[in-house]
Amino acid sequence: MVATPQPSAAASSAAPARRASAISLARLRWRHLELPLLSLAAALLIVSIALPYWHLTLHAPQYPQGLTIDVYVYKMEPLRNVREVDNLNHYIGMIPLTDAATIERKISRFAIPVLAAMAIASFWLRGRWRTLARVPMVIYPVVFVADLFAWLYYAGHSLDPHAPLSSSIKEFTPRLYGTGIIGQFSTKASFEPGFWLAVAAAVIVLVVMLLGRRSRDAAR
């Protein structure tokens, strides 16, 4: 991955006579690397299923250890903290965490391996189909963040007006990243290893796409 750009970078400043052979060398290497890179990206994405994507910590005086929740693509843990956060949220009329992103959580464990498989399969595809098979994996982290943000926005903007503490809290969007304050709670949100693996996988596929196109352009 680190080595591949070097020949083309070197080629750009090399003499025209040596250029063709350098490109064919790079292209030869590239053909060897493409499948391993796509497989690596697919593996990273699949491993990410087992790791948390997003993390939320709530601090308040009566929770000296903090209330922590790890969000995976298909579950939230630990259960006792999820229950507790839901319990607290019902006072301000917020939907339970378990009611959010139910479809996403249900399909993710099956959809993500499909994305991974598509990326690998793209190696044997050509043209538009190749691109179509790779794009979902590249945009997946962005989709995840957008979806998470949408749910946070929805949760903070669909508060039950009949909830016990509805009068003391205005509509808000819980922080996607960084620290915030809700009532007596300070919140801290962060992206976790699962998400970063998905980002790494996306970057790898993107690099494969760009370099693949570039090497083809160069060869043409």
């Binding site: 259960l79 006792r80 229950r83 507790e84 319990n87 006072y91 016990p164």
Partner: protein, 668 residues
Amino acid sequence: MGSDEVTSRKVNRRAVLIGSAAGVAGAAVAAPLIGRRDAAAGPIEDIAGQIANERGLTPEDVRAALKTYVPSGRYDEYYIFASGGHSGQVLVLGVPSMRLLKVIGVFTPEPWQGHGFSDESKRVLEGGNVNGKQITWADTHHPALSETNGEYDGQFLFITDKANARLAVIDLRDFETKQIVKNPHIISNHGGGFVTPNTEYIIDGSQYATPVGWSYAPLSEYKNVYRGAMTFWKFDREAGRVVPDQSFSVELPPYWQDLADSGKLVSDGWMFSNSFNTEMATGGILEGQPPVEAAASMRDMDYLTLINWRKAAEVFAAGKGEEINGMVRIPLSVAVAEGLIYQVPEPKSPHGVDVTPDGKFIVVAGKLDPHVTIYNFDKIQQAIAAGNFETDEFGVPILPFEACVEAQVEVGLGPLHTQFDDKGYAYTSLFLDSAIARWKIGNEGDPGSWQLVDKIPVQYNVGHLSVAEGDTVAPKGKYLIALNKWAIDRFAPVGPLHPQNFQLIDISGDTMQLLYDGPIGLGEPHYVQVISADKVKPWVTYPEVGWDPISQAKSPHAVAPGSEGIVRDGKKVTINMTSVRSHFTPDIIEVEQGDEIVWNITSIEMAQDATHGFALAGYNINVSIEPGEATTVSFVADTPGVYPFYCAEFCSALHLEMMGYFLVKPTQ
């Protein structure tokens, strides 16, 4: 520390510096905190000196204060499990702070825990009924922690009720009472709540001799019919229960048994019990007889009773006992013939019997004799093997005193109980002297090496004492608790009925130092056990939602969220309710007068400390629903009316709103 320092009440800074050097070192951690609070105050020793001067504290006071103060958020080093005396409960305190951590409902209904209000805990209390009669108090005497290889394992606590010869089992996963059993052979106990080294059995010895099995016989039949018994309650650790079917007693002569202890290591398999009133006095002041106090103290010697419990268990298993009131008793004649029981003379009316950590010696505290008498287990075995003994009038062999005794130490007046530390010292409480004696455990064959070393006065009239893990094979030392019966002038007056005084004593140094007076505001908190806090690992919430604390498993009556409702079956109305901050579901219950109510409540909380109560007006109901707990209350709705029920634990900001209506329609 010199006595001259003790006498000077007003102290200068230098004296505080010298006196509290050890304590200051211990409190160095707290220095930054104090410094922050009062930046102008300067170094920690200046602060200590200034406060000591302001409050008129001696260097010893400062040292004691620094050794016992446990800052907010820090935990105590040891737990004390204390008899709750006449309250029938168990107290849990921390050492060295002596803070009260919990009162565990045991023999007496306890509203906070719903003990005796929920169906499950009512059944536990019913186990302690005597002839079908409910007993709602106890003279709780001896707490005993379960042991593995002679060391506390922190799993279970047992406690006896002297008044009615009952035994309770407390599970230390949730600090709740799981079982109460009534001894079917004896009506009152004393030598009870002592475990064998692997908690195979819990020993329960009779106190006052009576006709066996709570039957009747006139006092004129005392020698013929009245008997004592030593009961061995079999404990099933897996089930966390005493198993009466596998338990048995050994019949004893009608002497009164006092305290007892199990052998350990070399003496494992045997147990020891002191007896008194071998005179067999029964009183009769108006009949012209001397009172028991005099008549039972006439002989110079009483008997230390020795029982080979391991062999007794074999005799029981061989079917050589007789069943009385549903439990087997080995007759005295069989016990003698099988070599299960022996007696050794001991100075008159002794009280405690305690086995040294190595199991080699048995220490008997004289009570009316100023000595502790130390018996050598090996010598006892040799005396038994020699077979050279007399018998008492009940045929029980009496081994020769001289052949069994290792040494005697004159410790002071009124020696009652002995425990041990990790440095080879023994500690004996002196009731009449109001003091604790520290003495050196000597060497075998060298009676002169057993010596009194030190004494410390206590306030006042000490009964039991307890050293950290001081009755195990591996005592921890460091702290001793003197359980004083009288407090007299130690605390601000609270009327004629005074608190008792648990005094914490530091035994880590060359001399003992009094650290703390802990008032206990209930009757006769008789005895305590002190265990390292790290051995006790309780749950902070129940393992899963819908847990039945009595069976320690998921309850068949657990109510899952979404399945709440009211089910009527004829006159039987089952209410399936959940509780969570801050509502009960359902919250309106309408029934007819005379309906039989079965009210299942499950807390679906999982957060630590989010406990709910369930208090129902008019029907004497208050149960505790701890996070995850499932409980049931059953009653007949016999009184019509509208009865609000509510959460009786301040659970949340909307706690007052956590309520519902129970409406009982009149049948007319």
